[in-house]
Structure formats: structure tokens, C-alpha cells
Amino acid sequence: MYKQMCRIREFEERIKRTFVEHPGVIRGHAHLGDGAEASIVGSLATKQENDPVMPSYRCHGYPLVLGTPARNVMAEIYMRKDGICKGFGGSMHLSDPARHFPSASAIIGQGIAHAAGVALAAQVKKTGQVVYCYFGDGSSKQGAFYEALNMAAVWKLPVVFILENNQYQAYTHVSLEDANARAGDPLSQKAKAFSIPGVTVDGTDPLAVYEAVAKAVDHARTGNGPSLIESKFYRLSPHGNAITVPPVPTQFQEHEVLEVYGNKAEWEAAKANDPIPKFRKQLIAKGTLTEAEAKKIEDDVRAEMDDVVKFALASPLPSGEEAANSNYVWA
């Protein structure tokens, strides 16, 4: 688990660096999952090989854990031919259906309905699969959230809805837009609207996440339908790289907590609660990992990501004409 968490972090850090060191290599809008590692890794550790995973557009970490080669994920973000989607999708629309990761939608909340649909297929075809559906706190105010959870509950679809509450929807703090948050209630309370299990878990603790998700997955796999898990952690980068119009270059700026709200105390607390050093400390204290082993993991991860960036930079861009390839427009 520790290695996977480090891989995600290092991957996301390299993306941030790419904007500074190689401007123009990544275009558009990239959304990073640094801070989410414990939640991503802890939840995915419960999954069976063929369980589908449906994340949001903040989707880099999941394929890394599923086994998609990091080189091809980076190449996709770098617009290259060797990208997992051959350059057709980019950061927000990764896809690796061979590893049970069909798609990621960037229209906030809509993918929650898609995940319920993947679960419908599992139910009709009797595959025994359980779908892992990830979305942010922001999407839990979208109509699609309510509709999809209701239908999944009525049809007892085999899906686990994992609400990643990182406290912010772009620039908006959750307390400005969520009725439960304003009342001091957990967002997992939304599960009551559908009479399904709802639980809040510390998303910075991979083992706590593992336990909660395993329970929900079992509930779904035994035909009892969906659950809602609110996984709480902090997003350590801003929502995405700054939105600029070409030719103005873009980069990752300061987190909204500083830039918009000027709340230094909250930022410092979040950094102090970084899931990776926290887990590292825990593992060493328990004796699961030695200091030397931890360092070796970190060195290996750095070396892997050096190679990943090198590969992606060297990968050729697709030809323009590929855009008109009829294989991708329609059959």
C-alpha cells in the first residue's frame, strides 16, 4: 500500500513540475489527486480483479493502482500517441477498459449515473462484479447523484459510491454549498434519503478506508445493493492548473484555502496531516517497514517516475489526421 501511495504522489508531483519545466507539454486542465492517496489505495485494495472502477475526471491515481503502465498514463496527459487513449482524451478522460476502468466524465456528477449503469450490466449478466464509483463532494449536489443513488438503491445495483470529501469544490468551501455541512452533519447522511448504509471514514487512513469499503463491497456483492462512503481528506493541490487562455502559460498556483480564503492555519493543519508521511510513521512504528525499506521504496518510485517522464517526453505526437479516423467517430 505504501508504495502505491508514493507512486501516486510522485506521479502527480511530476505533472506539477512539467508545467514549470516543460510548458506547453500539457494543455487544458489537469486535476491532481495528491492528498487522496490513502483513500484511493485503501479502497482499491479491497477489490477483486474484475471489479470495475469509475472515477471522476480527477482520475490519475486509479489506473496507476490498477496496473495501467504509468508511462502510458503520462503519455496520454502529454498528448502523445503512446497515451492510453492515443491522445484522444487527456488528463480528464483516461480509460483502460481492459483493466476494468471504462471511462471518466468531466461533467461533474454525470459519471455517477454511468457507474450505476456499469453495475446494471454486472447485475444483468450475473458477473458478480461490484463497481467502485468515485466522485467529489461537489458532485453530491448534482441531480445525477440523487437520481443514480435512488435507482441503484431501488434496483439493488452492485455498486459502492465513494464520496471523496476533500472540503473544496473548485474554489468553493463545502460549508458554502452543502446543507448537511452547514448543519454540522456528515455528508454520509445523504444515504438516508435512499435508505442505504452511509458511513464517514478518515480518508487519510488507508486501513480505515479499507475496512469501510470492504464492508460496503461485501454488502453489494451479496445482493444487498449500494452504500455511500464519505471518505474525508484534504486536497493538497488547487483544483487544477490555472485556467488561462493561450498563449498565457499555466501552472498550479496556491491552494484555494490560501488564494481565496487566506486561511493559513487550515493549510498548515492539512499539510501536517499528509497521509503519506503519516502512514510511513505508522508502518515503521508497527515494525511492518524499516526505515531502510521505506527509503528504498521512495527511491524506486522516484526512479520509476524519472523513466515515466522520459518515456512520455520522447513519445511522438499523433498526426493531425488521426482525429478523423473513422474507427473512433462511429462504426
Partner: protein
């Protein structure tokens, strides 16, 4: 062999046959399959035939996800306007996934809805808004005008690996005509000449095909031979057949129940201007609804809509234009 059938029966038989043929086809929607007496439910069971709440975003989004995971969902939406609530799923999700994934996923699904009621259903239930679903790369759009086309296009739609919006006209539901037995498929992107003629080409969709055929009968009594071309699918659109017809007749009238601006008629006129201008002996004429919402009261509703009379007048006006020598 063929059998006389109404529009609704033709569509239902297509869905039945395809569900029998392919266990991955599932069918769901609001207010259907409420009880065990439902014929689809009886035949295919409650896994494959389901009732949904009023949740178009989820109904369509679930279809997208299920299609990516190997099912072939048909979503019964009843009225094309109800798709508007979930328009993101129709135009920005279903048709995008195949392309954005670099061809790794397919999204085979059918969004079925009726449209075009001209029976006092007022502004929100009487629209012809299929033009809004044209020009969405990756989204196909079918508009049958006969029970035979209804069956053939539905079978093709279900077998198509792309998302298809399948729209059937409410004013045609009671029409009865011959439908071929068995595995009758109508291909997408192939227009049908419903009536051959030599003096003018009338291109029409859905109910307007019927009105145009009636107008052609009236015109024939005055010695005018009108050719009526039914595109059958607006995406993909068979411009070639339309241009070939214009090449023969030299004159083009487009009939569309929607308001004129940005209508399917305007799109087709543009395609002919680009690809068949040299064959035109007169400017094209569009016979469409007025640029207003559809009013409730009958005389007003009739006033704004195209009809046989207006089509006849339009044909006469394009025939009155004499081509000048080059």
C-alpha cells in the same frame, strides 16, 4: 411476406425480435412494465425489462455505463422533450466516450421517444427539436415515416454500436401499412424515394412525408409530378440521394414541422447548395413551422404548422421561377 401493422406494433415487434436475438438487449423506462401482464416483462423477465422513476439523467447515464459494460440498452423516453433534462448525457456523454477513449469503449444504446404532437398538447409537448441532435459527432438520429421503416430502423438502431436517438412521430401512430416479416433491417444513411417524380423534389421528415405525399397527389391532378424523398436518418444524412433527385428535377422544396431557423430543412438546403447548386433552376423553398412556440388553441396551432396546402403552394412557387439561360 409482409403484414399490415400500426406504427407502435412495428416498433414493438422490432424490439421483441432483437431482445430475443441478443440477450444483452435490455429495455427500460418510466411507466412501463408495471405489472407481470406486460408482454416484454412476461417474455424477458424483470432483469432485462424494468420500470424507472422519473430520472432521465440517471436513465440515460445508466444506459451509457451499461452500454460500455456490454449491454445494449433501449431507453423509452416517451417524448423527445424529456431528453432535454438530461441533454448532457445525450450530446456530451454517450457520443463522446468512444472517441475520448481512443476507440477502447463503445456505447451501443437507443434513446427512443415520440415527438411532434399536433393535438393541443401545447408548448412543451409538441416540439420538433431533432435539429438540436444533428451535428453531434458520434450520435445517430433516426426518424421513420412508415411502420416498415419504423421496424427496420429500430432493428438497425439496436444493432448499431453507437448511441442512436430514435424518434417516432405521434401523428403517425395510427397509420397502418405493410411491414415485411422477419429480419427486416433499414440501413442508416440511406434515404428513400417514397414517390418518384420529375418536376420537383420534396424532402420531408416523419409526418411531413405523409403530408408531402398528399400534396403530391393534389399536384398530380394539375399535371405536376413531384418526387418525395424521405431521408429516414438525419445522422448520418444521405445527401447523395437528395442531390441526385435535385439533379433530375432542378427544384427543391424542404418540408419540416420545426421552426425554420437552424432547422433540419435549413441544414439539408445548405448541403444541396454546397453539393448540388449547379442543378438548381430556382431557389430552394422551406416549408416549416412559424418561429414561435406551439400554441394550445386549435386554430392557432393549425396556423403555425406546415400542411398539404402550404406544400402545394411552395411547389407552385418554385415551378413559377424560370431558369435563365447561362
Amino acid at each position: 411476406m409482409a403484414r399490415e401493422m400500426m406504427f407502435g406494433e412495428a416498433m414493438a415487434s422490432a424490439i421483441m425480435e432483437e431482445m430475443q436475438r441478443d440477450p444483452n438487449v435490455v429495455f427500460y423506462g418510466q411507466n412501463m412494465a408495471m405489472t407481470e401482464r406486460d408482454p416484454f416483462l412476461k417474455r424477458f423477465g424483470k432483469d432485462r425489462v424494468r420500470i424507472t422513476p422519473i430520472s432521465e439523467t440517471a436513465e440515460l447515464g445508466i444506459a451509457v455505463g451499461a452500454a460500455m459494460a456490454g449491454l445494449r440498452p433501449i431507453v423509452e423516453l416517451y417524448m423527445s422533450e424529456f431528453m432535454l433534462v438530461a441533454f448532457d448525457e445525450v450530446v456530451n456523454e454517450a457520443p463522446r466516450m468512444r472517441y475520448m477513449s481512443g476507440g477502447q469503449v463503445k456505447v451501443p444504446c437507443v434513446f427512443k421517444a415520440g415527438f411532434g404532437f399536433a393535438a393541443g398538447w401545447a408548448g412543451q409537448h409538441s416540439n420538433c427539436m431533432y435539429n438540436q441532435m444533428m451535428g453531434i459527432p458520434g450520435l445517430k438520429l433516426a426518424l421513420p415515416s412508415t411502420p416498415a421503416d419504423a421496424k427496420g430502423l429500430m432493428k438497425s438502431a439496436i444493432r448499431d454500436d453507437n448511441p442512436v436517438v430514435y424518434l417516432h412521430h405521434y401523428m403517425l401512430m395510427l397509420d397502418k401499412s405493410e411491414v415485411p416479416d422477419g429480419d427486416y433491417l433499414v440501413p442508416f444513411g440511406v434515404a428513400d424515394v417514397k414517390r418518384a417524380g420529375t418536376d420537383v423534389t420534396i424532402v420531408a421528415t416523419a409526418w411531413m412525408v405523409k403530408e408531402s405525399l398528399a400534396a403530391a397527389e393534389m399536384l398530380a391532378k394539375e399535371g405536376i409530378s413531384a418526387e418525395v424523398v424521405d431521408p429516414r436518418t438525419l445522422s448520418p444524412l444521405d445527401v447523395k440521394t437528395i442531390v441526385e433527385s435535385v439533379k433530375k428535377t432542378g427544384r427543391l422544396v424542404l418540408v419540416d414541422q420545426a421552426p425554420k431557423y437552424a432547422s433540419a430543412a435549413a441544414v439539408i438546403a445548405g448541403a444541396v447548395a454546397e453539393q448540388g447548386f449547379q442543378y438548381l433552376k430556382a431557389p430552394v423553398k422551406l416549408v416549416t413551422a412559424l418561429d414561435t412556440s406551439v400554441p394550445y388553441s386549435e386554430p392557432m396551432e393549425n396556423y403555425i404548422l406546415p400542411n398539404e396546402e402550404k406544400i402545394v403552394q411552395a411547389v407552385k412557387s418554385v415551378l413559377a421561377v424560370h431558369a435563365t439561360a447561362v
